[in-house]
Each structure stands twice: as C-alpha cells, then as structure tokens.
C-alpha cells in the first residue's frame, strides 16, 4: 500500500517536472475567480492566442470566487502571484494598483478600443492611469417566460403602468407567481431590484455623478422613488419571499413557476441550459411612455498585469490580444450575458444576449450607483443598500426612512470634493 503511494507520488512529481521542462519560453499564469470559465479558457481562448503567438504558453489558474480577493492579496504580498491578474471592478483593484501590485497599462496597444465609461472601473480617480484591460460588463433587465405571456395574452411592458398591469394580470390568473425574487440573500433586492430599475429615476450617469459630486442626495426624490416602486413589488412575489434565496428564485423561474425574473445578463447561459420554455427580455420599464430609458451596464471583469511579473513583455502581448476584437468575439459568444466592452460591435448568436445588448443602442448606459468611490468608507454604502432594499421590500422600513439612513451613513464619512 505504502509502496503504491510512493510510486504514485514519484510519478506525479516526474510528470510535473516533464510539464515544466516543456515550457521553454515564457509561461503566463492567469489568476481568476471565474472557475466556471475554466473550460472556455482552456478550449477556446488560450488555443486561439497560442496559435498566433508561438513561444508563449498561458495557464488559467482560477480560485473560488469567495476566496479570490483574500488569496490574491496574500499571493501578491508573498510575490507568488501569477503574471496576469483578473480584476474586480473599482476599489478592490484600485487598491492593488495603489499598493504597486498592478502595472500601469495606459499606453498598452489596444487600450484605444475602449471608451472612458468602459475603463472607469479600472482607472484612477484623476483619470490618469488605467491598470486593467476591460473584459466584460453585465446588463440588468427583466427576463420573462414567453410561453406564459402568450398564454395570458400579455404584451411586453414598456412603461411602469403596463408593468404593474401585467403583474396584476398574472396574479389574477394564478397559474404563475408573478415575479421570482427573494429578500433572504439581501443582494438580490439591491442588485436585481434597486440597481435594476433605479437608473430610469436618477437618469443614469447624470444622477450617479451628481451623487458623487454631492449635488444630489440619496434622500432626493430621484433616489427615493425607486424604493417606492420596490415597495410595491412585495404583493407580486411568491409566498415566503422573505426566506427565498437567490438559487430559489433562479429555480422558481427556470422550472416555469414564475413569469418574470428581475435579472442580470449573467443568468443567460444558466437559464438557457435549465429552462424548458421560450424566454424573452425587456429593459426596466420607464415611468411614462416616451421617457428616455437608462440601463445598468455594469463593468464587471477586467484583466491586469502583475507589476512584478518576470514575463512582462509576453504578458503585454497577451493583454493587447485581450483588448482586440477577436478576443471580444470569442469571449462574448462563449459566455452569453458577459458583454464585451470593446467599442467594436461584437456579433453574438444567442437571441437573449442579443436582446440585452440591443438596449445599449436605444437606452443610455450607466454603472451601479454605489460602486465607484461611494463604497470606500464605513458604513459601506453598497452593503447598506442591500439591507435597505430588502427592508423596503419586506415592509420593515419605509422608502423615506431607508433613504435617510443611507444618506446619514454616507454623510458620516464622505465629503464630496467641492
């Protein structure tokens, strides 16, 4: 028995040795939290890159999402992190840059393919340095059960009035739960609720930037109104929605028990695999017909260069390729729902993903209001927003009180630059 183990160990060590000996040229390692994407990197992205760049080998080495930030920080401090670092948006990556762990990529060939909004998640506050290549964003909206809508004769709602009329109709019919969302995990209420419908009220970037500048407050009508709408949602959620978790909501919808799902586009590939019915999507309904529409098109994932990488030149070649339209097309089609931030339009084959991305043409894009700068202090505005949104839907707090509490928390540490 012992001998077999020893043999096995020897065998593994020699295999490792053989593998490392084969890498004569530069070998790049990518740190990432997207372990779901392992197959896509290994089968599609890395072969496509290696075919064009002989001599550079790439290894995708993901960690579990919840451990990524902590593990990455530890590895960077110890100097054992990979050459390429997958970047979380905003402050987590900004902190890495400020500590000198991420290299400045402002002059990288290919960076010109991205708009300033696309780069905003990985740019310093003064806008001087960009330290990660934007990879993808996620778009919020509502996914609906097309079969259910056809059966009940409901047209896709475009205004809020139509939206609630549709919900009333589904509720009156009784076959379906009108909307699949729970408040147990808190973030569903904030991300799929508040940040989903909110941009229509605070006028997207206008409101978000005014909030950062201190010209608007969370207690202003534009920021309280989405809470008032959310408070009305509770009549349309399933029984016991207070203890309904995120996977519960996903399953309720994909099993065909609920008609509408407040969504993020990252759900698309999962839903395509699970749901047995036709699905459609619509952007957050506007208040009155003819109003401008706004969508949350949130930068979610980027990739940067470890400042201490021994293979910086090879890594830069790789990053330029990530910034190219070729990468964008492979990535966006392999992962429908993660939309390329590249200025060159990408052809996608998934109809649901096409629907989501088509809103970029008719609506104005913004990112989630709490992510840039405003979640740097304690209390953390994003985390507070989770609790506030859940409280409003649960009816344990009024929209006005929730907004007041958020603004007080923000005021306690945030002093807008005048």
């Amino acid at each position: 028995m012992t001998r077999t183990i020893v043999k096995a160990l020897l065998l593994t060590t020699s295999t490792f040795a053989a593998v490392s000996a084969a890498h004569a040229d530069a070998t790049l390692t990518i740190e990432s939290w997207r372990n779901d994407d392992l197959a896509i990197w290994q089968e599609k992205l890395i072969p496509a890159f290696e075919a064009k760049n002989p001599g550079i080998k790439v290894t995708f080495a993901p960690t579990a999402p919840t451990e990524y930030n902590a593990a990455l920080n530890a590895k960077l401090d110890a100097g054992s992190a990979g050459d390429l670092i997958t970047c979380r948006p905003f402050d987590a990556s900004l902190e890495l840059y400020n500590k000198g762990h991420l290299a400045d990529l402002s002059g990288l060939p290919g960076m010109e393919n991205f708009s300033p909004v696309a780069k905003s998640a990985w740019t310093t506050d003064d806008g001087k340095a960009t330290f990660c290549v934007p990879m993808a964003s996620v778009i919020h909206g509502f996914i609906y059960n097309k079969d259910a809508f056809e059966k009940l004769g409901i047209a896709v709602p475009t205004t809020e009035e139509e939206f609630f009329a549709a919900l009333d109709k589904i509720k009156a019919d009784g076959t379906y739960i009108p909307m699949a969302m729970g408040t147990k995990d808190l973030w569903e209420a904030a991300t799929m609720g508040y940040q989903n419908i909110g941009p229509n009220y605070w006028k997207g970037e206008d409101g978000r930037l005014a909030l950062i500048k201190g010209e608007q407050k969370l207690t202003d009508e534009a920021w309280v109104a989405p809470y008032k709408t959310l408070a009305k949602w509770k009549d349309y959620l399933g029984d016991g929605y207070q203890a309904q978790t995120y996977p519960d909501s996903q399953n309720l919808f994909t099993l065909g028990r609920a008609a509408i799902y407040p969504a993020g586009s990252w759900e698309i590939s999962g839903f395509n695999a699970q749901a047995q019915f036709k699905m459609g999507a619509f952007p957050p309904p506007v208040q009155k017909a003819g109003d401008d529409c706004y969508i949350s098109d949130h930068n979610d994932i980027g990739i940067g260069l470890n400042a201490k990488s021994a293979n910086a030149e090879a890594a830069k070649t790789f990053l330029s390729w990530v910034a190219s339209p070729e990468f964008a097309e492979i990535y966006a089609n392999a992962l429908p729902g993660f939309f390329s931030l590249n200025s060159t339009p990408v052809k996608m084959t998934d109809p649901l993903a096409q629907e989501f991305v088509s809103w970029r043409g008719k609506c104005k894009s913004t990112i989630r209001s709490t992510y840039q700068i405003l979640s740097r202090g304690k209390p953390n505005l994003e985390n507070e927003t989770w609790a506030a949104s859940a409280n409003v839907i649960n009816g344990t707090s009024t929209p006005e009180d929730a907004a007041k509490k958020l603004q007080e928390g923000l005021d306690s540490w945030y002093k807008p630059a005048k």
Partner: protein, 315 residues
Amino acid sequence: MTSLDETGPSTPLKRPIRWHILIFLFPALLVYTAVMILPLFQTLWLSLFNVVDDQTVFVGLGNFKTLFGDQRWAADFWNALKNNFIFFVIHMLVQNPIGIALAAMLSIPKLRLAAFYRTAIFLPTLLSFVIVGFIWKLILSPIWGVAPWMLGLVGAKSLFAPWLGLPHSALITVSLISVWQYVGIPMMLIYAALLNIPEEVIEAAECDGVTGWSQFWKIKLPLILPAIGIISILTFVGNFNAFDLVYTVQGALAGPDGSTDILGTLLYRTFFGFQLQLGDRSMGATIATVMFLIILAGVSLYLFIIQRRIRRYQF
C-alpha cells in the same frame, strides 16, 4: 492544609530536578505557543495600531474609542453583543434543560433502545455546520421545504412563516437550529454524571422514602451540579465564539437587517471585509480583543465565584 508534614521542615529531602518532565512537556508547549499564544498576543497587539495615511501607527486605545465612541461602530457592536446574549440565553434555557431531561430519561434502567436514542440524539453534533445549515435552510424553505407541508398535513399551514427571513424570528430560529445540533453534548455529559452516582446513595434515598421526582431534585440534581456548571461554561464560550452556523444560514451580513448579527459575524465582516467593503485588520483585531475579554470575564466569573461555591461529593 495549615499543618505541615512532620518530617518536612527539619530534614529537607533533596530531590533531583526531574528534567524529563520539562523535556516531555517541551514539544507540546512549543506547538501551543506557536499556534495559540503568539497569535493571541499578536491580535491583542494589533488592536493597538491603525493605518493612518498608509502608515501603521501606534494609536493606543484609539481603536477601542472608535468602537465604543463612534455612533455607528457602537450601534453595530451593541447590536451584535445583544444578539449574542440572546443566542446564549436561548441555549441556556432550551439546550441545557432539554439535555438534562434527555439524560435523565436515558438513565432510567427500564428504558428500551437507550443506545439507539443516545446515538440518534448525539449524531447531529458530529455533522458539519455546513450540512446542518443547509439541511435546515431546506426544511424551512417556504418553497421546497417539508416544514410547510408537514404543518399542512395537520391543518396548521397558517402557522408557517418564512422564519429565517423575518427580523423578529430569524435569531430565535438560528438559535434553535444550533440547539438541535448541539443538544447531544449536555446530554452526554449529564448522562455520564448520572451513571457515576453510586447505587448505594439511590438505595439509601429509597429507604428514606425519597423516590421519583423528589429523588431527582433532592439527590441526583445536586450530584450533577458540577457537570451542569461545566456545560454552562462550555455553552458560554461556544456561543460567544459562534460564527459558522449564522454564516452558513444567513450569510456574512447576518440578515435580515442585521437581526442575526453576532460578534463572530461582525468580526468576520470587519477583519476580512465583505463584497465592496475592504477588510480592516486593526478594527477586526479590536473586536477580537473585546470578544476575548468578554469570554475571559465570563470564564473568570465562573471559576472564581461560582465553581468555588458548588459543593462536590466524593464517594
């Protein structure tokens, strides 16, 4: 112990220093120091520092001033401490009496299948908190759970509520899940204590006409009091260090609206950060220090005041 041994003072017996004791203790002491004592002191030390303008500076008790003086920190801390106290009280009022009752029933000689009950009740203690949390989340799920269905069978479905999602019931529910998991430990300890009571004492009581309930209250309970004391202190330490079950059932934000937030989850969020909130090691260490002091105070209170008053019986 006031009188000295007669031979002691006159001819002091010269004993060789027993080096082997020290040598045998050394490895354990080394390991314990490296993995327990040093980190503990490092944590206490870290709580006296904070980062100002990217420089780690000594701030003395400044962090503690922030924790208790800053309105928000204090609100979070007192909320967590209050919840933790409720968590502890529920364990003391539910877990330990049930544990004692179960042990008393198990020690009835006529009981059949005692070994089976003992194993079945102790089994959840051996399960991982991840499994326990997951199982109970499913049982209590308003959508797929068996709890609403079983209540429906007896026509009491209206009594069901999404307990884990309501601010006023979430903490009680989580506490009861923890009670369910750990009730085996007081049961086992008390059961062992009850088995230790000699037959003669019980027989003597029976000769004096002390039987049934009064036998339990007057004879058995006083004899198992030291075991109950140990259980109480174990419950106290365990509850004020608790984190895992709340984290698996309610998440790191310990919702809804912080109603299940206990010191452990507050420490976790502060030290490691959560979502967009970056970790704050100094404040985390401060909370850890306060937790250490609370537990130390509780244990000292028990050791120096209560334990000395418990009468012990030797047979």
